[in-house]
């Protein structure tokens, strides 16, 4: 077991097991205030712990920690590289923001199952952290199950018929998806006798046997159903639109992304030998179709939350573009996009939640005149939308620049055009939503000049604003974060 500096094991242990213990505490001691303080402090501590962890990953390259001290291939390894690190940061930041928002939201709506929400969040959080650092195929299956079984109740948390039927549809998609994933794991184990990702990717990639290829197919279809990638996206818009604001922020920013993260993690790591460039182009096409379909659908919606949900379907398509463009620059670009999209999407949903709280319903037409009452909220939502569309001052632009550079450097210019188109379409549906809010039916000088401060308590306002600010701040730190993201990038083509 490679000699790791003293802080890595405690950090990883904290990230995975502390939220579990917090979940147990939440079940035993259901006092709301205590649980909110617990979730916020856990979020803060994990952010603090991530800093030295990033330093170590930066210094020593990808970290490998064998659980229980058992050498591979028997034990389960935890594997942390640039991609996993970025996802951990995303989970911590979005988690903290959503936790603060949820504490305010649960009180302002006096939701009956506040305790349940906090337990679900703690367990979801530990499942996500485990998923991002896990280096074992079956372990990833178990963590996927945790995220699903925590996400479906989060959807069902929003009372009403639509939430229940959306949760039902989500559960069935996820159920079949996880069985397909399990089939893939079984085939890989039968064929290679290995489960650990580092071992699988370290094999000298001679031609993969039929079992491995079918396994890759099964795993990809399974994950596509869980991440609602284009052909299998039916459930996501209904589920994310029906869920309550903090829940849909978590679902869109983290849960859907975890499954998409796994697609690139498995395609570029252990299953590298199982696909040919032609297949990679096909995956790229699926990604682009997802981008175009999601964006066009988002342009057609009449309610606010389905627009954001379809935007998630679209933005997840970008992750698949990493497969045909498997260069280091593309790796950095796609991870950066995942990071920025996570933060911005969470900000978008939370700000949308505030607007809906303000006007009572989420029809786009009803947003008119919202700019005067909830102006700061609207500004946060607009900035988050700009980050999703990848326009300059925000981190989204840096990610888009990286991805287009990677596409042009490898001569696959068509991906660059697709990325550009995706950005434009995203800008269109973002500005469509904002123009609904800015629209004031009567000419303004007849409008009575009243600035009603909406009774939005501070806890609901600051998370979206800070998350949107983080998405913009990422625009400035491209140079700073580039070496972190490049750790563990596949040295495929230059």
């Amino acid at each position: 077991m490679t000699e790791l500096d003293s802080l890595v094991a405690p950090t990883l242990t904290f990230l995975i097991f502390a939220p579990l213990l917090a979940g147990v505490v939440a079940l035993l001691w259901p006092r709301g205030l205590v649980l909110d303080l617990l979730s916020i402090s856990l979020g803060a501590i994990s952010l603090v712990l991530l800093v030295p962890l990033s330093g170590t990953v930066m210094g020593q390259g990808p970290l490998l920690l064998e659980l229980g001290g058992h050498e591979l291939p028997l034990g389960i390894p935890l594997y942390v590289d640039g991609l996993a690190l970025a996802m951990l940061w995303l989970t911590a930041l979005t988690g903290l923001g959503t936790a603060v928002y949820a504490s305010g939201w649960l009180r302002s709506v006096s939701h009956p199952s506040g305790q349940q929400y906090r337990v679900l969040w703690f367990l979801l959080w530990s499942g996500l952290n485990a998923l991002f650092v896990s280096g074992d195929l079956f372990n990833i299956y178990v963590t996927l199950e945790i995220t699903t079984l925590a996400a479906v109740p989060l959807v069902a948390l929003a009372r009403g018929r639509e939430a229940l039927s959306a949760a039902m549809q989500y559960l069935y998609f996820a159920l079949v998806g996880s069985i397909l994933f399990l089939l893939g794991v079984a085939l890989v184990y039968a064929e290679t006798g290995l489960l650990a990702l580092p071992e699988l990717s370290a094999r000298e990639s001679e031609a993969a046997g039929p079992g491995e290829t079918i396994a890759l197919l099964a795993i990809t279809v399974g994950l596509a159903m869980k991440a609602a990638l284009f052909p299998a996206h039916g459930w996501l818009p209904r589920a994310h639109a029906a869920a309550s604001p903090p829940a849909s922020a978590l679902l869109s920013a983290l849960v859907a992304k975890a499954a998409a993260y796994l697609v690139i993690r498995l395609w570029l790591g252990p299953f590298e030998a199982a696909w040919t460039p032609a297949v990679a182009q096909l995956m790229g096409v699926v990604g682009v179709l997802g981008i175009l379909y999601g964006s066009l659908q988002a342009l057609r919606q009449h309610r606010l939350k389905p627009v954001i949900a379809y935007s998630t379907v679209a933005q997840l398509g970008y992750l698949l573009l990493l497969i045909p463009l498997a260069s280091v620059v593309a790796w950095q670009g796609v991870i950066y996009h995942a990071l920025v999209h996570g933060l911005a999407k969470a900000a978008f949903f939370l700000a949308a939640g505030n607007l809906i709280l303000g006007i009572g319903h989420d029809r786009l037409v009803g947003l008119a005149g919202c700019d005067r009452v909830l102006s700061k909220n609207l500004l946060a939502m607009a900035v988050a939308g700009v980050a999703i569309a990848g326009l300059p001052p925000t981190g989204g632009f840096i990610a888009k620049w990286w991805m287009i550079t990677a596409a042009l450097e490898q001569g696959q210019w068509w991906w660059a055009v697709a990325i550009g188109m995706g950005g434009l379409l995203a800008a269109l549906y973002v500005f469509r939503v904002v123009s609904f809010a800015v629209h004031s039916p009567r000419p303004w000088h007849e409008e009575p000049l009243r600035e009603t401060r909406h009774g939005l308590n501070r806890l609901l306002l600051w998370p979206p604003v800070l998350l949107a600010a983080a998405a913009v701040a990422l625009g400035m730190t491209g140079e700073l974060l580039a070496p972190f993201l490049a750790v563990g990038a596949p040295e495929v083509s230059p």
């Binding site: 300059p392 001052p393 042009l408 434009l424 269109l428 303004w444 409008e447």
Partner: protein, 502 residues
């Protein structure tokens, strides 16, 4: 002592402070919120004055040949690089002066309207973007501020919130974001080929790349910049954007946005490709012809426009292409003519928009045929309007004449006599769409509705800026010979570009 000060990093990073001054002001105003009316005015004017002082220092410094640059690493191998050279000071000075004047005008204009916090916040952010465009040192930074300009101007175009404004905003976005996408594609292609290059006089693109590729990239970049410079096929958004409040259409659509596009064309030809490479590729003729078509087309459409602001908008479309024409011709005199027109057109057009604003604000006059007898009712406004209109036509003492004169000389110098034809035709067309307005204002027909005796002028806060810009336009024409006049500065830039005194 001055030398020690010169290479002190804080002094060197002057362009950054310039951009930051209005960026911070804008953000502060947005964060403050609506009720802080007085502090907002203080912040606005303070930032404008501070910017003017900074620009003055830089103008003096660049004149002495000092070097101002600021570098912030944003991407591995690519930096946010701000570098103030003579060309950037041209646009920076113009924007700084006009921003101060327009802020005063806007405070008066939007007296009781809602959402002023949002307006002034994005207003100063927009000027920060223009400053950024002017001092950008490489294509990446240029694009970053170029797109920021789009983002910050959109809220101003849709400020009124009425559905007409929203439609205009949607069209504006479609054009600018579409153009921006193409521009980004071209920039990244250049970066993929050349890596991170700084704007260098004579261009940094290496000539022995395959010409087809070079032309392709040039066209991509030209389209990207052409959208904002409102070249003919891409000008659709400008007349629509006139639905915005007067100060917005004055500063943004006559000066900031449109000039950013023209400035982009100048950078592209002189500092990215370099004149001789553009000539060898034959792109200068393409540019010149496109500019000529835009000039004539803009003037013709202006003729038909019955709404004052529409007419001024189409006049802007044609006037901005003078700059492109100067760059397209490529001779030293034509370049100086084009560059100096960048300033002159700004001064004249902003005066015209201010007057249109005054007419609309005090008397609700929006159409040309309602202007009868306004000479008597609003003498100062109409006087400024007449002076600026004559300048646009090219009547000698006013600024417009200087740039047309140099453009003509440039055309003759290069043996391209058709340029003279274009200039004469456009002058006649300018006269055709401005003179009837003047006639109606000063010599109303008998059956014109009687406006009643006495003068009913626009409020002072609107009048002073109008008169100020009119005098600037006149001064730029008369005092063209003075050391720090726009013409001298254009010649100074010409020297640096051609390396020889014209």
């Amino acid at each position: 002592m001055m030398e020690a000060l010169q290479d002190h990093p804080v002094w060197m990073a002057m362009p950054a402070w310039m951009v930051l001054s209005s960026l911070v002001a804008g953000l502060l105003i947005l964060v403050l919120g609506e009720p802080y009316q007085r502090t907002r005015v203080v912040i606005n004017l303070g930032a404008a004055v501070l910017k003017l002082v900074l620009v003055g220092f830089m103008l003096w410094g660049v004149g002495q040949g000092h070097d101002f640059e600021f570098r912030l690493p944003l991407l591995p191998g690519i930096d946010l690089y701000l570098h103030a050279d003579s060309l950037s000071m041209l646009l920076a000075t113009l924007s700084a002066i006009l921003w101060l004047i327009t802020t005063v005008y806007a405070i008066g204009y939007l007296e009781q309207s809602p959402n002023r916090c949002r307006f002034f916040g994005f207003f100063s952010l927009c000027v920060a973007a223009t400053m950024g465009v002017s001092v950008a040192g490489n294509l990446f930074t240029f694009f970053l501020f170029y797109e920021l300009l789009t983002l910050t101007t959109w809220p101003l175009v849709v400020h009124r919130g009425v559905s007409v404004a929203l439609r205009a905003g949607k069209r504006y976005l479609a054009y600018t974001l579409g153009g921006g996408g193409i521009f980004l594609f071209g920039i990244i292609a250049l970066y993929a080929l050349m890596g991170d290059q700084v704007f260098t006089p004579g261009g940094f693109v290496d000539p022995d790349l395959p010409p087809a590729l070079l032309i392709g990239i040039f066209l991509l970049l030209l389209v990207g910049v052409g959208v904002k410079a409102a070249m003919v096929p891409l000008h659709g958004w400008l007349p629509q954007a006139m639905v915005a409040p007067a100060p917005v259409s004055a500063l943004l659509h006559a000066v900031a946005v449109v000039k950013a596009g023209a400035f982009g064309i100048v950078r592209l030809v002189y500092d990215v490709y370099g004149l001789d490479l553009v000539a060898t590729l034959g792109m200068n003729h393409v540019l010149a012809i496109a500019a000529a078509i835009t000039i004539v087309w803009g003037s013709l459409r202006a003729l038909q426009a019955s709404d004052i602001k529409q007419r001024l908008a189409f006049s802007t479309v044609s006037q901005v292409s003078y700059i492109a024409l100067g760059v397209g011709i490529g001779s030293p005199m034509a370049t100086i003519g084009g560059l100096v027109h960048l300033v002159h057109q700004g001064l004249m057009k902003i005066t015209l928009f201010f007057c249109a604003g005054n007419l609309a604000e005090t008397h609700g006059i929006k159409r040309v045929d309602q202007v009868d007898g306004m000479g008597r009712t609003m003498p100062w406004t109409m006087a400024a309007f007449t002076l600026a209109a004559l300048g646009m036509i090219g009547v000698p003492p006013i600024a417009g004449f200087v740039s047309k004169w140099y453009l003509g000389l440039g055309g003759v110098e290069n043996g391209q006599y058709w340029v003279l034809g274009v200039l004469v035709a456009s002058t006649l067309l300018n006269a055709a769409y401005f003179l009837p307005v003047l006639r109606r204002a000063w010599f109303p027909r008998a059956d014109a509705p009687d406006r009643g005796p006495g003068i009913h002028e626009a409020p002072l806060s609107l009048l002073i800026p109008t008169v100020a810009t009119a005098t600037f336009a006149l001064g730029a024409g008369i005092l063209a010979g003075m050391p720090f006049s726009p013409l001298q500065w254009a010649q100074f830039i010409g020297e640096q570009i051609y390396g020889v005194a014209p």
